[in-house]
Amino acid sequence: MLGVQLAQLHDGDRPGVAEALDLVAGFDDALVHGFARLGEERAAALTALAGAVAASPLGPAVSEAADKVAAGSIGEEHLTALAGARTALLGAVHDALLDRLDTALGRTRAAWEESASTAAPADNLLSGSRSWLHELGITGWRGVDHDLVSSSGQTLEALLAEPRLRRLAVLLDGLAAELRASCPIATMARLPVRRWADLWTRAVLLSQPGARPAASVEPVTGRLLVLGADVHEHGTAVQVQVHGVLEPAGGAPTRLVRASVAAAKVDTIVGPAVWRLLAGHPVLLTALAERRSLDLADMPLSSSGDLAWQDDKATVGAPADPFATARLQLANANAPAVPPLERHPIRISEPVLLEDYETDGDRWTLDGHSIRVDLDRLPASGPLTPELVAASSACIGLVRWDAGGWRVQPLAVQATVKRKPVEAHTGDWAQGPTDPKVVKAEAKAGDAVAVLRERAGRLLRE
């Protein structure tokens, strides 16, 4: 990114964004206290939310829901309609922000293409999730206790066993763990108000019965040049999302794509050990660890830019420096569309290259324009540390937006440490740590994955 692009990113507020977020905040406040205890002010906030979507197809359902809930009749369908309205508003905020970012970067984005719908999952699994979320909505975060958190247990277990519902299961598990760790919530000084409302709302939508629109999928052949790995993690899940530039065979325009691999885990598997859970995808991990390109043959690619990764459709190619890829390819690669139901500001994660900036604490400045560096998104499974980031002069990162501001999450940095150039990427330890100190610490702690797998092997098949 250039200074002038940073300037464009921050150039004035997008009309409507602040107003939309105010309406969302009204809904979120209702969820803090519970829909059963609305009071006049929070009921008015729901009416305002309904007013904002009145002209959309959601309008009548949301308006009815706001009235009914204010009158104390809180059906599942009413909370679903309100969740839909909140989702629509944040979807619009997402679109406005992403458009601002694309404009600043000069990035071309494909239009959404939909093909067939996915098959509808079994409703008995979803109904358990809906009724737990309904109970949470009525009670409000302030009223959540151990019993209400624990009552999600059976539903969660059933959801986890169904791979097609993994998204919902992983989301509910993450939310339940946060609620459990926060009990008693009534006495918490402050609540993650926006976050929990986000998680609740998305879970309500993912719990709806029926088929969903799916992205169109085509097989692609060509060379994948890796930019970097974005690591996501909570107590019982880890996901690695590899961003790269695809050069399709035959010379079609290059495209920004991602490959995602996710594994279930437990909270005691942390740091570099999480890579061991993904060892079933050695081709992808080798490319990350050795900074090599990947040759793809008929790998399914959906219109959302997501490769449905299959290790046997890829081979490890020649060494490929991600910084060279970012310098030479990033500006011209076409970006994919965002699936309609995923539109939320948290999903914005656009790869960029930043160079020759001045660092000052958690801000980087280029030609007088600055952006915040997200030091909370440096995974313990890789070599990037706040110190390295502070000493850096070039960075491949993801531009994100949260809590009202833009920020950049480093995926790789080039830095000078003790007058020597060093380079670090989040995926460097994909085949095990390369830093002797970390190797030693790991050896001392023992192999958590192996210990637990051994126990599982003995106890679960007794």
Binding site: P163, R195, H232, V261, A262, V270, A273, L378, P379, A403
Partner: protein
């Protein structure tokens, strides 16, 4: 409210649960603070096939320890906890940090004292079978297949460096 707190409440990707610290799992493979108890599973020192289920209730500090087949632990007295309970507390401190464990159990001890010295409860009955089945569920996560369908919801859960 200052600007940082305000931003935290308006943040979507903020951290709520601190990441746990890595620790050796062989002796105490499972520790959790859940259902109002510090509870977990402790390996027997003598028999590889045997494990103990140990728990301490938050607030009252009532404790218990038994094998997963519900045989009472021989080391347990009416008012004195056994070595398995001590291991449970030690490993919980490694995993969650001393402050979090003390706050959860509501233990008040001097800075240099072992948390066990702050326990004020006596032996009480405890749902060993429930805790053990939670351990089995915990292990079952490792048997779930790896998926390659993107989980968009994981953007809410960034991997972070542990804060000590």
């Amino acid at each position: 409210m200052n600007a940082d707190e305000d931003a935290w409440e308006r943040g979507s990707g903020v951290r709520v649960v601190p990441p746990v610290q890595p620790r050796k799992l062989a002796k105490v493979p499972f520790v959790e603070m859940a259902d109002g108890r510090l509870q977990g599973v402790v390996s027997s020192g003598s028999d590889i096939a045997r494990v103990y289920v140990s728990s301490i209730t938050a607030g009252t500090h009532g404790f218990n320890c038994s094998t997963n087949n519900n045989r009472p632990c021989g080391g347990l007295g009416g008012s004195s906890p056994c070595k398995h309970l001590r291991s449970l507390v030690d490993e919980a401190v490694l995993q969650y940090g001393r402050e979090r464990v003390a706050r959860y159990l509501q233990i008040e001890v001097g800075e240099d004292d072992h948390l066990m010295e702050g326990l004020e409860g006596t032996r009480e009955s405890a749902p060993a079978a429930v805790v053990f089945s939670r351990f089995l569920r915990h292990l079952a996560y490792l048997e779930l297949p790896v998926t390659t369908e993107p989980v968009a919801e994981m953007h809410w859960f960034p991997a972070t460096r542990a804060v000590i």
